[in-house]
Amino acid sequence: MNFSKINWKKNAIIWGIPLVGVILLSFFPQYGSAYWVTRLSYFLMYIILAVAWTIFSGATGYISLASSAFFGVGIYAAALLGESMPLIFVVLIGGAASFVLAFIFGAITLRLRGIYFAMFTFGLVLLFKELIYYYEITVEGLRGRFVVLQSNDTIYYYLLGIFVVTMIAAYFMRRSKFGLALRSIGQNEEAAAHTGVNVTMVKILTFAVSAIFMGAAGVVMATKWTYVDPGVAFNLMISFTPVLMAIFGGMGNIYGPVIGAVLFTYIQEVLTTGDLKNYYMLIFGAVLIGAIVFMPNGLMGVIQKLVGLVRKWRKGGSVEQNANT
Protein backbone atom coordinates (compact mmCIF):
# COMPACT_ATOMS: atom_id res chain seq x y z
CA MET A 1 0.00 0.00 0.00
CA ASN A 2 1.28 3.40 -0.88
CA PHE A 3 -0.28 5.87 1.51
CA SER A 4 1.10 9.00 -0.07
CA LYS A 5 -1.00 8.56 -3.20
CA ILE A 6 -4.46 7.55 -2.12
CA ASN A 7 -6.37 6.43 -5.17
CA TRP A 8 -9.73 8.15 -4.64
CA LYS A 9 -11.35 6.57 -7.61
CA LYS A 10 -10.42 3.10 -6.43
CA ASN A 11 -11.51 3.83 -2.85
CA ALA A 12 -14.83 5.11 -4.10
CA ILE A 13 -15.39 1.81 -5.85
CA ILE A 14 -14.19 -0.30 -2.92
CA TRP A 15 -16.28 1.50 -0.30
CA GLY A 16 -18.87 3.49 -2.23
CA ILE A 17 -20.65 0.78 -4.17
CA PRO A 18 -21.05 -1.61 -1.22
CA LEU A 19 -22.21 1.30 0.97
CA VAL A 20 -24.91 2.33 -1.50
CA GLY A 21 -25.89 -1.32 -1.82
CA VAL A 22 -26.28 -1.77 1.92
CA ILE A 23 -28.28 1.45 2.26
CA LEU A 24 -30.64 0.33 -0.49
CA LEU A 25 -30.98 -3.08 1.12
CA SER A 26 -31.69 -1.57 4.53
CA PHE A 27 -34.69 0.39 3.17
CA PHE A 28 -35.95 -2.58 1.25
CA PRO A 29 -38.64 -3.80 3.70
CA GLN A 30 -40.26 -0.35 3.50
CA TYR A 31 -40.95 -0.51 -0.21
CA GLY A 32 -40.47 -4.17 -1.12
CA SER A 33 -43.05 -6.90 -0.81
CA ALA A 34 -43.03 -9.31 2.11
CA TYR A 35 -42.37 -12.12 -0.34
CA TRP A 36 -39.17 -10.47 -1.52
CA VAL A 37 -38.05 -9.73 2.03
CA THR A 38 -38.23 -13.46 2.71
CA ARG A 39 -36.43 -14.33 -0.48
CA LEU A 40 -33.69 -11.83 0.20
CA SER A 41 -33.27 -13.34 3.68
CA TYR A 42 -32.30 -16.62 2.08
CA PHE A 43 -29.87 -14.88 -0.23
CA LEU A 44 -28.28 -13.17 2.78
CA MET A 45 -28.06 -16.43 4.71
CA TYR A 46 -26.17 -18.18 1.92
CA ILE A 47 -23.91 -15.20 1.30
CA ILE A 48 -22.99 -15.18 4.99
CA LEU A 49 -22.27 -18.89 4.97
CA ALA A 50 -20.26 -18.81 1.74
CA VAL A 51 -18.20 -15.76 2.70
CA ALA A 52 -17.56 -17.09 6.22
CA TRP A 53 -16.50 -20.45 4.81
CA THR A 54 -14.11 -18.75 2.40
CA ILE A 55 -12.46 -16.76 5.19
CA PHE A 56 -10.84 -19.93 6.45
CA SER A 57 -11.05 -22.60 3.76
CA GLY A 58 -10.56 -20.33 0.78
CA ALA A 59 -7.27 -19.02 2.08
CA THR A 60 -5.82 -22.17 3.62
CA GLY A 61 -7.18 -24.83 1.28
CA TYR A 62 -8.39 -26.85 4.26
CA ILE A 63 -11.86 -27.92 3.18
CA SER A 64 -14.21 -27.65 6.13
CA LEU A 65 -17.46 -29.56 5.86
CA ALA A 66 -18.43 -28.50 9.37
CA SER A 67 -20.42 -25.37 8.46
CA SER A 68 -23.65 -27.13 9.28
CA ALA A 69 -22.35 -28.04 12.76
CA PHE A 70 -21.84 -24.36 13.60
CA PHE A 71 -25.05 -23.31 11.90
CA GLY A 72 -26.81 -26.04 13.90
CA VAL A 73 -25.31 -24.80 17.15
CA GLY A 74 -26.92 -21.45 16.38
CA ILE A 75 -30.24 -23.13 15.64
CA TYR A 76 -30.15 -24.97 18.95
CA ALA A 77 -29.15 -21.80 20.77
CA ALA A 78 -32.30 -20.20 19.39
CA ALA A 79 -34.42 -23.22 20.34
CA LEU A 80 -33.11 -23.38 23.89
CA LEU A 81 -32.74 -19.66 24.71
CA GLY A 82 -35.17 -17.93 22.36
CA GLU A 83 -37.94 -17.69 24.93
CA SER A 84 -35.87 -16.41 27.80
CA MET A 85 -33.98 -13.50 26.28
CA PRO A 86 -34.03 -10.91 23.47
CA LEU A 87 -32.90 -12.08 20.03
CA ILE A 88 -29.77 -9.96 20.03
CA PHE A 89 -28.39 -11.82 23.05
CA VAL A 90 -29.26 -15.17 21.52
CA VAL A 91 -27.40 -14.19 18.35
CA LEU A 92 -24.34 -13.21 20.39
CA ILE A 93 -24.48 -16.38 22.45
CA GLY A 94 -25.01 -18.54 19.35
CA GLY A 95 -22.01 -16.91 17.70
CA ALA A 96 -19.89 -17.30 20.82
CA ALA A 97 -20.89 -20.95 21.26
CA SER A 98 -19.92 -21.66 17.65
CA PHE A 99 -16.61 -19.90 18.20
CA VAL A 100 -15.85 -22.03 21.26
CA LEU A 101 -16.88 -25.24 19.54
CA ALA A 102 -14.84 -24.44 16.42
CA PHE A 103 -11.87 -23.49 18.59
CA ILE A 104 -11.96 -26.82 20.41
CA PHE A 105 -12.40 -28.84 17.22
CA GLY A 106 -9.78 -26.79 15.45
CA ALA A 107 -7.35 -27.46 18.27
CA ILE A 108 -7.97 -31.19 17.97
CA THR A 109 -8.18 -31.57 14.21
CA LEU A 110 -6.16 -28.89 12.49
CA ARG A 111 -3.05 -30.99 12.99
CA LEU A 112 -4.55 -33.30 10.39
CA ARG A 113 -3.51 -33.18 6.78
CA GLY A 114 -5.99 -31.64 4.34
CA ILE A 115 -8.12 -34.60 3.33
CA TYR A 116 -8.29 -36.02 6.85
CA PHE A 117 -9.53 -32.66 8.01
CA ALA A 118 -12.32 -32.71 5.42
CA MET A 119 -13.29 -36.24 6.44
CA PHE A 120 -13.21 -35.35 10.08
CA THR A 121 -15.41 -32.29 9.73
CA PHE A 122 -17.83 -34.32 7.65
CA GLY A 123 -18.00 -36.99 10.35
CA LEU A 124 -18.43 -34.32 13.00
CA VAL A 125 -21.73 -33.09 11.58
CA LEU A 126 -23.11 -36.61 11.33
CA LEU A 127 -21.95 -37.44 14.84
CA PHE A 128 -23.71 -34.36 16.22
CA LYS A 129 -26.88 -35.27 14.42
CA GLU A 130 -26.83 -38.86 15.67
CA LEU A 131 -26.02 -37.98 19.26
CA ILE A 132 -28.62 -35.25 19.56
CA TYR A 133 -31.27 -37.46 17.97
CA TYR A 134 -30.34 -40.18 20.44
CA TYR A 135 -30.40 -37.77 23.37
CA GLU A 136 -33.73 -36.24 22.40
CA ILE A 137 -35.45 -39.57 21.82
CA THR A 138 -34.10 -41.65 24.68
CA VAL A 139 -33.47 -39.06 27.39
CA GLU A 140 -36.04 -36.36 26.74
CA GLY A 141 -38.53 -38.50 24.86
CA LEU A 142 -39.17 -35.88 22.20
CA ARG A 143 -38.29 -35.22 18.65
CA GLY A 144 -37.65 -31.65 17.60
CA ARG A 145 -38.34 -28.36 19.37
CA PHE A 146 -40.27 -25.17 18.80
CA VAL A 147 -38.51 -21.88 18.27
CA VAL A 148 -40.03 -18.49 19.08
CA LEU A 149 -41.10 -16.93 15.81
CA GLN A 150 -39.77 -13.53 14.71
CA SER A 151 -41.26 -11.22 12.10
CA ASN A 152 -39.87 -11.40 8.58
CA ASP A 153 -38.56 -7.85 8.83
CA THR A 154 -36.69 -8.60 12.06
CA ILE A 155 -35.09 -11.65 10.51
CA TYR A 156 -34.15 -9.65 7.46
CA TYR A 157 -32.52 -6.84 9.45
CA TYR A 158 -30.58 -9.24 11.64
CA LEU A 159 -29.28 -11.12 8.61
CA LEU A 160 -28.37 -7.84 6.93
CA GLY A 161 -26.43 -6.82 10.03
CA ILE A 162 -24.60 -10.15 10.22
CA PHE A 163 -23.91 -9.93 6.49
CA VAL A 164 -22.30 -6.50 6.82
CA VAL A 165 -20.16 -7.62 9.75
CA THR A 166 -19.12 -10.78 7.88
CA MET A 167 -18.14 -8.83 4.78
CA ILE A 168 -16.12 -6.31 6.79
CA ALA A 169 -14.40 -9.10 8.69
CA ALA A 170 -13.63 -10.98 5.47
CA TYR A 171 -12.31 -7.80 3.86
CA PHE A 172 -9.95 -6.97 6.70
CA MET A 173 -8.92 -10.59 7.13
CA ARG A 174 -7.85 -10.60 3.50
CA ARG A 175 -5.99 -7.31 3.68
CA SER A 176 -4.31 -7.72 7.06
CA LYS A 177 -1.07 -9.44 7.91
CA PHE A 178 -3.22 -12.21 9.33
CA GLY A 179 -4.64 -12.78 5.85
CA LEU A 180 -1.15 -12.91 4.36
CA ALA A 181 -0.20 -15.51 6.97
CA LEU A 182 -3.28 -17.55 6.09
CA ARG A 183 -2.58 -17.51 2.38
CA SER A 184 1.03 -18.45 3.05
CA ILE A 185 -0.15 -21.40 5.14
CA GLY A 186 -2.36 -22.45 2.23
CA GLN A 187 0.63 -22.33 -0.11
CA ASN A 188 3.24 -23.95 2.08
CA GLU A 189 2.55 -24.62 5.70
CA GLU A 190 6.05 -25.74 6.60
CA ALA A 191 7.70 -22.66 5.12
CA ALA A 192 5.21 -20.42 6.95
CA ALA A 193 6.06 -22.10 10.25
CA HIS A 194 9.78 -21.59 9.67
CA THR A 195 9.17 -17.94 8.81
CA GLY A 196 7.78 -17.26 12.27
CA VAL A 197 4.06 -17.84 11.77
CA ASN A 198 2.38 -19.64 14.65
CA VAL A 199 0.63 -21.83 12.12
CA THR A 200 -1.55 -23.78 14.57
CA MET A 201 -2.83 -20.65 16.30
CA VAL A 202 -3.55 -18.75 13.09
CA LYS A 203 -5.49 -21.70 11.69
CA ILE A 204 -7.50 -22.39 14.83
CA LEU A 205 -8.37 -18.74 15.43
CA THR A 206 -9.50 -18.12 11.86
CA PHE A 207 -11.52 -21.31 11.81
CA ALA A 208 -13.20 -20.25 15.05
CA VAL A 209 -13.84 -16.69 13.88
CA SER A 210 -15.45 -17.89 10.65
CA ALA A 211 -17.73 -20.13 12.74
CA ILE A 212 -19.12 -17.10 14.64
CA PHE A 213 -20.95 -15.84 11.55
CA MET A 214 -22.32 -19.28 10.76
CA GLY A 215 -23.63 -19.70 14.29
CA ALA A 216 -25.17 -16.23 14.32
CA ALA A 217 -26.91 -16.91 11.00
CA GLY A 218 -28.21 -20.19 12.43
CA VAL A 219 -29.84 -18.39 15.37
CA VAL A 220 -31.70 -15.99 13.09
CA MET A 221 -32.79 -18.62 10.57
CA ALA A 222 -34.14 -20.86 13.33
CA THR A 223 -36.67 -18.20 14.25
CA LYS A 224 -37.97 -18.41 10.70
CA TRP A 225 -38.41 -22.18 10.73
CA THR A 226 -40.19 -22.28 14.12
CA TYR A 227 -39.80 -26.06 14.43
CA VAL A 228 -36.36 -27.68 14.36
CA ASP A 229 -34.92 -31.13 14.91
CA PRO A 230 -31.37 -32.48 14.49
CA GLY A 231 -32.10 -33.36 10.86
CA VAL A 232 -32.88 -29.71 10.10
CA ALA A 233 -30.15 -28.27 12.31
CA PHE A 234 -27.35 -30.55 11.14
CA ASN A 235 -28.32 -30.81 7.51
CA LEU A 236 -25.31 -31.79 5.39
CA MET A 237 -26.51 -29.60 2.55
CA ILE A 238 -25.74 -26.59 4.73
CA SER A 239 -22.14 -27.82 4.75
CA PHE A 240 -21.93 -28.42 1.03
CA THR A 241 -23.89 -25.58 -0.47
CA PRO A 242 -21.53 -22.81 0.74
CA VAL A 243 -18.53 -24.81 -0.53
CA LEU A 244 -20.09 -25.11 -3.93
CA MET A 245 -21.09 -21.44 -3.96
CA ALA A 246 -17.57 -20.34 -3.06
CA ILE A 247 -15.94 -22.57 -5.67
CA PHE A 248 -18.48 -21.59 -8.27
CA GLY A 249 -18.04 -17.89 -7.61
CA GLY A 250 -14.29 -18.11 -7.13
CA MET A 251 -12.27 -17.56 -3.99
CA GLY A 252 -9.52 -15.30 -5.31
CA ASN A 253 -11.68 -12.25 -4.78
CA ILE A 254 -14.00 -11.22 -1.94
CA TYR A 255 -16.94 -10.86 -4.32
CA GLY A 256 -16.51 -14.39 -5.69
CA PRO A 257 -18.39 -16.19 -2.90
CA VAL A 258 -21.03 -13.42 -2.90
CA ILE A 259 -21.73 -13.82 -6.61
CA GLY A 260 -21.64 -17.62 -6.25
CA ALA A 261 -24.11 -17.48 -3.37
CA VAL A 262 -26.53 -15.12 -5.14
CA LEU A 263 -26.55 -17.13 -8.36
CA PHE A 264 -26.85 -20.42 -6.58
CA THR A 265 -29.59 -19.41 -4.20
CA TYR A 266 -31.53 -18.25 -7.21
CA ILE A 267 -30.91 -21.48 -9.13
CA GLN A 268 -31.75 -23.51 -6.03
CA GLU A 269 -35.03 -21.69 -5.62
CA VAL A 270 -36.01 -22.11 -9.24
CA LEU A 271 -35.13 -25.79 -9.15
CA THR A 272 -36.69 -26.71 -5.83
CA THR A 273 -39.99 -24.96 -6.46
CA GLY A 274 -40.51 -25.65 -10.16
CA ASP A 275 -41.08 -28.74 -12.27
CA LEU A 276 -37.46 -29.77 -11.85
CA LYS A 277 -37.88 -30.36 -8.12
CA ASN A 278 -37.02 -34.04 -8.39
CA TYR A 279 -33.88 -33.30 -10.34
CA TYR A 280 -32.49 -30.72 -7.93
CA MET A 281 -29.81 -32.93 -6.39
CA LEU A 282 -28.81 -34.23 -9.80
CA ILE A 283 -28.31 -30.76 -11.23
CA PHE A 284 -26.59 -29.62 -8.04
CA GLY A 285 -24.10 -32.49 -8.35
CA ALA A 286 -23.52 -31.90 -12.04
CA VAL A 287 -22.84 -28.20 -11.48
CA LEU A 288 -20.48 -29.02 -8.61
CA ILE A 289 -18.46 -31.36 -10.82
CA GLY A 290 -18.61 -28.98 -13.76
CA ALA A 291 -17.36 -26.08 -11.64
CA ILE A 292 -14.43 -28.11 -10.31
CA VAL A 293 -13.46 -29.54 -13.67
CA PHE A 294 -13.91 -26.48 -15.86
CA MET A 295 -13.57 -23.44 -13.59
CA PRO A 296 -11.08 -24.18 -10.82
CA ASN A 297 -10.87 -20.42 -10.15
CA GLY A 298 -14.62 -19.90 -10.31
CA LEU A 299 -16.67 -17.29 -12.12
CA MET A 300 -14.53 -14.44 -10.80
CA GLY A 301 -11.50 -16.28 -12.18
CA VAL A 302 -13.15 -16.45 -15.60
CA ILE A 303 -14.17 -12.77 -15.40
CA GLN A 304 -10.70 -11.67 -14.35
CA LYS A 305 -9.18 -13.65 -17.17
CA LEU A 306 -11.56 -12.01 -19.66
CA VAL A 307 -10.86 -8.55 -18.27
CA GLY A 308 -7.15 -9.30 -18.52
CA LEU A 309 -7.51 -10.41 -22.12
CA VAL A 310 -9.51 -7.32 -23.05
CA ARG A 311 -6.91 -5.04 -21.44
CA LYS A 312 -4.09 -6.86 -23.16
CA TRP A 313 -5.90 -6.55 -26.44
CA ARG A 314 -6.55 -2.84 -25.95
CA LYS A 315 -3.17 -1.85 -24.62
CA GLY A 316 -1.11 -4.47 -26.37
CA GLY A 317 1.06 -4.51 -23.26
CA SER A 318 1.90 -7.28 -20.86
CA VAL A 319 -0.71 -8.31 -18.36
CA GLU A 320 -0.04 -9.10 -14.77
CA GLN A 321 -0.65 -12.72 -14.00
CA ASN A 322 -3.69 -13.52 -11.94
CA ALA A 323 -2.81 -15.12 -8.67
CA ASN A 324 -5.90 -16.89 -7.52
CA THR A 325 -5.19 -18.88 -4.44
Binding site: G61, I63, I108, T109, L112, R113, G114, I115, Y116, A118, M119, F120, F122, G123, L124, L126, L127, E130, L131, Y133, Y134, I137, T138, F240, V243, L244, I247, N278, Y279, Y280, M281, L282, F284, G285, A286, V287, L288, I289, I292, V293, P296
Partner: protein, 287 residues
Protein backbone atom coordinates in the same frame (compact mmCIF):
# COMPACT_ATOMS: atom_id res chain seq x y z
CA UNK B 1 -21.06 -66.38 26.87
CA UNK B 2 -23.41 -67.70 24.20
CA UNK B 3 -24.69 -64.21 23.69
CA UNK B 4 -21.13 -63.03 23.26
CA UNK B 5 -20.39 -65.79 20.75
CA UNK B 6 -23.45 -65.01 18.68
CA UNK B 7 -22.51 -61.34 18.54
CA UNK B 8 -19.04 -62.35 17.43
CA UNK B 9 -20.27 -64.65 14.65
CA UNK B 10 -22.91 -62.15 13.55
CA UNK B 11 -20.18 -59.50 13.44
CA UNK B 12 -17.94 -61.65 11.27
CA UNK B 13 -20.79 -62.30 8.85
CA UNK B 14 -21.58 -58.64 8.26
CA UNK B 15 -17.84 -57.94 8.50
CA UNK B 16 -17.25 -60.00 5.35
CA UNK B 17 -19.41 -57.56 3.41
CA UNK B 18 -17.82 -54.54 5.09
CA UNK B 19 -14.44 -55.93 4.00
CA UNK B 20 -15.49 -56.11 0.38
CA UNK B 21 -16.95 -52.60 0.40
CA UNK B 22 -13.85 -51.24 2.10
CA UNK B 23 -11.36 -52.96 -0.18
CA UNK B 24 -13.10 -51.20 -3.05
CA UNK B 25 -12.76 -47.81 -1.38
CA UNK B 26 -9.21 -48.63 -0.39
CA UNK B 27 -8.32 -49.04 -4.06
CA UNK B 28 -10.08 -45.83 -4.97
CA UNK B 29 -8.50 -43.79 -2.23
CA UNK B 30 -5.25 -45.66 -1.63
CA UNK B 31 -4.23 -45.82 -5.28
CA UNK B 32 -6.45 -43.52 -7.32
CA UNK B 33 -6.44 -40.90 -4.50
CA UNK B 34 -10.15 -40.24 -4.76
CA UNK B 35 -11.91 -40.36 -1.42
CA UNK B 36 -15.04 -41.50 -3.16
CA UNK B 37 -17.94 -40.37 -1.02
CA UNK B 38 -20.21 -41.80 -3.74
CA UNK B 39 -18.86 -45.31 -3.11
CA UNK B 40 -21.99 -46.41 -1.27
CA UNK B 41 -24.16 -45.11 -4.10
CA UNK B 42 -22.56 -47.62 -6.46
CA UNK B 43 -23.35 -50.22 -3.83
CA UNK B 44 -26.96 -49.03 -3.79
CA UNK B 45 -27.18 -49.27 -7.58
CA UNK B 46 -25.74 -52.81 -7.41
CA UNK B 47 -28.29 -53.78 -4.79
CA UNK B 48 -31.23 -52.44 -6.80
CA UNK B 49 -30.08 -53.97 -10.08
CA UNK B 50 -29.92 -57.31 -8.30
CA UNK B 51 -33.38 -56.70 -6.89
CA UNK B 52 -34.77 -55.94 -10.33
CA UNK B 53 -33.12 -59.00 -11.88
CA UNK B 54 -34.25 -61.20 -9.01
CA UNK B 55 -37.82 -60.05 -9.54
CA UNK B 56 -37.41 -61.20 -13.14
CA UNK B 57 -36.32 -64.64 -12.06
CA UNK B 58 -32.53 -64.38 -12.06
CA UNK B 59 -30.67 -65.97 -9.14
CA UNK B 60 -29.29 -63.04 -7.06
CA UNK B 61 -25.82 -64.52 -6.83
CA UNK B 62 -25.69 -64.91 -10.61
CA UNK B 63 -26.43 -61.21 -11.12
CA UNK B 64 -22.86 -60.54 -10.03
CA UNK B 65 -21.72 -61.65 -13.47
CA UNK B 66 -23.59 -58.70 -14.95
CA UNK B 67 -23.16 -56.16 -12.17
CA UNK B 68 -19.40 -56.41 -11.67
CA UNK B 69 -18.41 -55.68 -15.30
CA UNK B 70 -21.11 -53.02 -15.63
CA UNK B 71 -19.97 -51.15 -12.53
CA UNK B 72 -16.37 -51.53 -13.58
CA UNK B 73 -17.04 -49.88 -16.93
CA UNK B 74 -19.02 -47.06 -15.34
CA UNK B 75 -16.28 -46.45 -12.75
CA UNK B 76 -13.54 -46.58 -15.37
CA UNK B 77 -15.28 -44.04 -17.56
CA UNK B 78 -16.02 -41.72 -14.66
CA UNK B 79 -12.38 -41.70 -13.60
CA UNK B 80 -11.08 -41.33 -17.12
CA UNK B 81 -13.30 -38.32 -17.79
CA UNK B 82 -13.82 -36.41 -14.55
CA UNK B 83 -10.96 -37.37 -12.27
CA UNK B 84 -8.21 -37.57 -14.88
CA UNK B 85 -9.05 -34.01 -15.92
CA UNK B 86 -8.97 -32.82 -12.32
CA UNK B 87 -5.70 -34.65 -11.70
CA UNK B 88 -3.99 -33.14 -14.73
CA UNK B 89 -5.17 -29.63 -13.83
CA UNK B 90 -4.20 -29.80 -10.14
CA UNK B 91 -1.00 -28.04 -9.17
CA UNK B 92 -0.11 -30.63 -6.51
CA UNK B 93 -1.43 -33.93 -5.10
CA UNK B 94 -3.09 -32.14 -2.16
CA UNK B 95 -5.13 -29.94 -4.49
CA UNK B 96 -6.13 -33.02 -6.47
CA UNK B 97 -7.31 -34.87 -3.37
CA UNK B 98 -9.44 -31.93 -2.21
CA UNK B 99 -10.96 -31.26 -5.61
CA UNK B 100 -11.54 -34.95 -6.20
CA UNK B 101 -13.33 -35.19 -2.88
CA UNK B 102 -15.63 -32.34 -3.86
CA UNK B 103 -16.29 -33.88 -7.28
CA UNK B 104 -17.04 -37.19 -5.56
CA UNK B 105 -19.66 -35.38 -3.50
CA UNK B 106 -21.15 -34.17 -6.75
CA UNK B 107 -21.21 -37.75 -7.96
CA UNK B 108 -22.90 -38.77 -4.74
CA UNK B 109 -25.74 -36.32 -5.32
CA UNK B 110 -26.14 -37.36 -8.95
CA UNK B 111 -26.12 -41.15 -8.44
CA UNK B 112 -28.39 -40.99 -5.43
CA UNK B 113 -30.83 -38.77 -7.25
CA UNK B 114 -30.89 -41.18 -10.19
CA UNK B 115 -31.57 -44.06 -7.79
CA UNK B 116 -34.44 -42.15 -6.21
CA UNK B 117 -35.95 -41.17 -9.53
CA UNK B 118 -36.01 -44.80 -10.64
CA UNK B 119 -36.78 -46.71 -7.46
CA UNK B 120 -38.31 -44.17 -5.09
CA UNK B 121 -37.49 -44.14 -1.39
CA UNK B 122 -39.46 -47.15 -0.11
CA UNK B 123 -37.28 -49.97 1.25
CA UNK B 124 -37.40 -53.21 -0.74
CA UNK B 125 -36.54 -56.80 0.05
CA UNK B 126 -36.98 -60.30 -1.28
CA UNK B 127 -36.57 -63.74 0.16
CA UNK B 128 -33.61 -65.92 -0.74
CA UNK B 129 -32.49 -69.15 1.01
CA UNK B 130 -34.94 -68.79 3.92
CA UNK B 131 -33.39 -71.63 5.98
CA UNK B 132 -31.37 -71.12 9.15
CA UNK B 133 -28.28 -72.64 10.70
CA UNK B 134 -27.44 -72.81 14.38
CA UNK B 135 -24.01 -71.40 15.12
CA UNK B 136 -22.63 -70.90 18.63
CA UNK B 137 -26.08 -71.28 20.11
CA UNK B 138 -27.76 -68.70 17.87
CA UNK B 139 -29.66 -69.02 14.63
CA UNK B 140 -28.34 -67.40 11.47
CA UNK B 141 -30.00 -67.20 8.08
CA UNK B 142 -28.45 -69.30 5.34
CA UNK B 143 -28.49 -66.23 3.13
CA UNK B 144 -26.19 -64.36 5.50
CA UNK B 145 -23.69 -67.21 5.53
CA UNK B 146 -23.72 -67.51 1.75
CA UNK B 147 -23.36 -63.76 1.27
CA UNK B 148 -20.45 -63.57 3.71
CA UNK B 149 -18.68 -66.56 2.15
CA UNK B 150 -19.16 -65.07 -1.28
CA UNK B 151 -17.83 -61.69 -0.16
CA UNK B 152 -14.76 -63.28 1.42
CA UNK B 153 -14.11 -65.35 -1.70
CA UNK B 154 -14.31 -62.29 -3.97
CA UNK B 155 -12.10 -60.30 -1.62
CA UNK B 156 -9.48 -63.05 -1.40
CA UNK B 157 -9.50 -63.62 -5.15
CA UNK B 158 -8.98 -59.95 -5.75
CA UNK B 159 -6.14 -59.80 -3.27
CA UNK B 160 -4.38 -62.67 -5.05
CA UNK B 161 -4.90 -60.91 -8.35
CA UNK B 162 -3.25 -57.76 -7.02
CA UNK B 163 -0.36 -59.72 -5.58
CA UNK B 164 0.31 -61.96 -8.57
CA UNK B 165 -0.97 -60.61 -11.87
CA UNK B 166 0.90 -58.18 -14.08
CA UNK B 167 -1.83 -55.54 -13.89
CA UNK B 168 -1.83 -55.99 -10.13
CA UNK B 169 1.86 -55.15 -10.09
CA UNK B 170 1.28 -52.05 -12.18
CA UNK B 171 -1.42 -50.99 -9.70
CA UNK B 172 0.90 -51.44 -6.75
CA UNK B 173 3.65 -49.53 -8.54
CA UNK B 174 1.20 -46.69 -9.22
CA UNK B 175 0.20 -46.67 -5.57
CA UNK B 176 3.82 -46.32 -4.47
CA UNK B 177 4.88 -43.59 -6.86
CA UNK B 178 2.75 -42.61 -9.86
CA UNK B 179 5.47 -40.52 -11.50
CA UNK B 180 8.10 -43.25 -11.48
CA UNK B 181 5.56 -45.89 -12.48
CA UNK B 182 4.66 -43.65 -15.42
CA UNK B 183 8.33 -43.45 -16.43
CA UNK B 184 8.59 -47.24 -16.25
CA UNK B 185 5.97 -47.55 -18.94
CA UNK B 186 2.83 -47.92 -16.85
CA UNK B 187 -0.07 -46.03 -18.44
CA UNK B 188 -0.85 -44.10 -15.30
CA UNK B 189 -4.22 -42.67 -16.28
CA UNK B 190 -5.53 -46.07 -17.28
CA UNK B 191 -4.08 -47.81 -14.22
CA UNK B 192 -5.70 -45.32 -11.84
CA UNK B 193 -8.98 -45.57 -13.77
CA UNK B 194 -8.69 -49.35 -13.48
CA UNK B 195 -8.48 -49.05 -9.70
CA UNK B 196 -11.46 -46.76 -9.61
CA UNK B 197 -13.36 -49.20 -11.82
CA UNK B 198 -12.42 -52.16 -9.62
CA UNK B 199 -13.57 -50.19 -6.59
CA UNK B 200 -16.94 -49.49 -8.19
CA UNK B 201 -17.27 -53.15 -9.22
CA UNK B 202 -16.60 -54.31 -5.66
CA UNK B 203 -19.18 -51.86 -4.34
CA UNK B 204 -21.69 -53.24 -6.87
CA UNK B 205 -20.99 -56.84 -5.86
CA UNK B 206 -21.25 -55.93 -2.19
CA UNK B 207 -24.60 -54.30 -2.94
CA UNK B 208 -25.82 -57.47 -4.65
CA UNK B 209 -24.79 -59.52 -1.61
CA UNK B 210 -26.43 -57.11 0.81
CA UNK B 211 -29.72 -57.35 -1.08
CA UNK B 212 -29.61 -61.13 -0.56
CA UNK B 213 -29.96 -60.84 3.20
CA UNK B 214 -31.02 -57.31 4.19
CA UNK B 215 -33.72 -54.85 3.10
CA UNK B 216 -32.41 -52.24 0.68
CA UNK B 217 -33.32 -48.60 0.05
CA UNK B 218 -32.04 -45.84 -2.18
CA UNK B 219 -30.73 -43.97 0.86
CA UNK B 220 -28.61 -46.88 2.10
CA UNK B 221 -25.41 -45.76 0.34
CA UNK B 222 -23.99 -43.10 2.64
CA UNK B 223 -24.07 -45.41 5.66
CA UNK B 224 -21.88 -47.93 3.86
CA UNK B 225 -19.57 -45.20 2.60
CA UNK B 226 -19.07 -44.05 6.16
CA UNK B 227 -18.39 -47.62 7.27
CA UNK B 228 -15.86 -48.04 4.45
CA UNK B 229 -14.13 -44.79 5.41
CA UNK B 230 -13.89 -45.92 9.02
CA UNK B 231 -12.57 -49.33 7.93
CA UNK B 232 -9.88 -47.97 5.63
CA UNK B 233 -8.82 -45.58 8.37
CA UNK B 234 -8.74 -48.54 10.75
CA UNK B 235 -6.78 -50.72 8.34
CA UNK B 236 -4.43 -48.02 7.16
CA UNK B 237 -5.18 -45.93 4.07
CA UNK B 238 -4.27 -47.83 0.93
CA UNK B 239 -3.62 -51.15 2.64
CA UNK B 240 -5.78 -53.83 1.00
CA UNK B 241 -5.16 -56.54 3.65
CA UNK B 242 -5.71 -53.85 6.30
CA UNK B 243 -9.16 -53.09 4.88
CA UNK B 244 -9.94 -56.81 4.71
CA UNK B 245 -9.19 -57.37 8.40
CA UNK B 246 -10.57 -53.96 9.38
CA UNK B 247 -13.94 -54.90 7.90
CA UNK B 248 -14.28 -57.82 10.29
CA UNK B 249 -13.17 -55.75 13.28
CA UNK B 250 -15.77 -53.07 12.55
CA UNK B 251 -18.41 -55.72 11.89
CA UNK B 252 -17.90 -57.18 15.35
CA UNK B 253 -17.77 -53.79 17.09
CA UNK B 254 -20.88 -52.60 15.24
CA UNK B 255 -22.84 -55.75 16.08
CA UNK B 256 -21.82 -55.50 19.73
CA UNK B 257 -22.91 -51.86 20.03
CA UNK B 258 -26.16 -52.57 18.17
CA UNK B 259 -27.04 -55.39 20.55
CA UNK B 260 -26.49 -52.98 23.46
CA UNK B 261 -28.37 -49.99 22.02
CA UNK B 262 -29.25 -49.87 18.33
CA UNK B 263 -29.58 -46.07 18.43
CA UNK B 264 -25.87 -45.72 19.10
CA UNK B 265 -24.38 -47.96 16.39
CA UNK B 266 -23.82 -45.23 13.81
CA UNK B 267 -22.51 -42.86 16.46
CA UNK B 268 -20.07 -45.56 17.58
CA UNK B 269 -18.58 -45.70 14.07
CA UNK B 270 -17.93 -42.00 14.17
CA UNK B 271 -16.42 -42.20 17.61
CA UNK B 272 -14.05 -44.96 16.44
CA UNK B 273 -13.24 -42.90 13.37
CA UNK B 274 -12.58 -39.72 15.32
CA UNK B 275 -10.41 -41.46 17.89
CA UNK B 276 -8.44 -43.27 15.18
CA UNK B 277 -7.77 -40.10 13.22
CA UNK B 278 -6.48 -38.41 16.33
CA UNK B 279 -4.52 -41.22 17.91
CA UNK B 280 -3.35 -43.31 15.01
CA UNK B 281 -4.09 -41.77 11.61
CA UNK B 282 -1.91 -44.43 9.96
CA UNK B 283 -4.42 -47.09 11.01
CA UNK B 284 -3.86 -50.24 13.01
CA UNK B 285 -1.87 -51.90 10.25
CA UNK B 286 -0.32 -48.80 8.68
CA UNK B 287 3.39 -48.65 8.11
Amino acid sequence: MEHFLSIFIGGLLIGGIYSLVSMGLSLQYGVAKVLNIAHGEFLMIGAFLTFVLQQNGVDPLLTVVIIAPLMFIVGFIIYRTIFTTIRLKASNPGVFESNALLAAFGLYFIVQNIGRLIWGTTPQSYSYLPGTVSLGGALFNDSRLVAAAFAIAVGAAFYLYLARARTGKAIRAAAQDPTTAGLMGVNINNTLALCFGFGAAMAGVAGALISVCYPISTTMGLGYTVIAIVVITLGGLGSIPGSFIGGFILGVIGTAVTSWDAGLSVASYYVIFVILLLVRPKGLFGK
